[in-house]
Symmetry: C2
Subunit: 247 residues, 2 copies
Amino acid sequence: MTGLLTVVGLGPGAAEHRTPAAAQAVREAEVVLGYSAYIDACADLLGAGQTVLRGRMTEESRRAEQAVALAAAGHRVALVSSGDAGVYGMATLALSTAAELPVARRPEVRVLPGVTAALASSALVGAPLAHDFACLTLSSLLTPWEEVERRLRAVAAADLALALYNPRSAGRTWQLDRAREVLLEHRGPGTQVALVTDAARPEQHVRLTTLGELDSSVVGMTTTVLVGASATRRLGDWLVTPRAAGA
Amino acid sequence: MTGLLTVVGLGPGAAEHRTPAAAQAVREAEVVLGYSAYIDACADLLGAGQTVLRGRMTEESRRAEQAVALAAAGHRVALVSSGDAGVYGMATLALSTAAELPVARRPEVRVLPGVTAALASSALVGAPLAHDFACLTLSSLLTPWEEVERRLRAVAAADLALALYNPRSAGRTWQLDRAREVLLEHRGPGTQVALVTDAARPEQHVRLTTLGELDSSVVGMTTTVLVGASATRRLGDWLVTPRAAGA
């Protein structure tokens, strides 16, 4: 008898932005797996009868295999990610791993959506993503940098608003500056930018700036960089993008 | 004394995907405003002591003005949208309207994020938006169609996955077919497509197809059209996009 694997998006951090479906899946799981910080983000849901397996940042494939194997063995398993599990999260790995099993041994898999960082960050500064927008990652660990630049150029030229995930870390310090240069080829230096760090967590920090004045040194691993479209305006402490393109 | 206006994203439909923050804002409001279908989506939260103002689809500006005026008069107001209030939602109108008031008369405004249709739909079919993606609207009521095509071309050429909002309605029947033609200039006919109608509602319906075989006649106002990147694969009933571009 096979079990159930639920791939859960926990939202940005605070429990108030975590969906009831996500909370229920974690509460009802016999085994909860996730990167250690994400286990912390749902610690309020965990009980004594549950097995909790904390993983490391770089062990995503192993974690997906473990989650699928446990569900295939008949357990009710929750594999947790922050934000939305399907956006730069664990869902693809979990589904691909499950699909490698013979049908008879394959567990049921469900994916639960969540509030991804782009949306949590955007709400804090108003509505910069109110019209067409794109989410791009600047992490070149999995994507060749030339491909990242090609995408940045296309999105900038098409005048979409933009949420940049993984903009900078201790080991990736030049990518955001280079991204800024690429964007400035198509967007004016006055383009509105918001740097939202630790959205919906106690240490939450918001900084409004422009593409011309963007100081990448204040950006870290938990920052989402929001870049407005040409129509995005600053109104006091808010950024708003009109619902009509070019309006 | 001014009040508080909270612009609330209710999520896709079912209460299980509505955040606790959204639920609390609606429960604590003295006045709840929204398009009639969105009021229905939070009917379980409404009590006898609340004033509920149901609006029509085309009266967004009027509704935003009403919400801001009520909050400016000292009331605690919730202006509700489906999905995320900041994505093709009411947040921009509400913030822009509030910003027109003199500072002393301006109410406090908060925006609460929610699970937008792209994420709710994506989770139902696996993880098609697992790497870089864009959200575009095909509604040309507010955006000139040439601009929509320009954005489609850019996103298709950059090989982003894509969520199309407002793909078709009784009065807008040709846009999706034309969008398909534009996408086919850059993407193969085997490109994975999911048509997700009424995600997270009782009448939810999912149809997997390809760009070559996409039949627009089954698409309606409440459908989100998800178009995979070139790397997006179908695994049984799932669509997955690898986390590395081009992988």
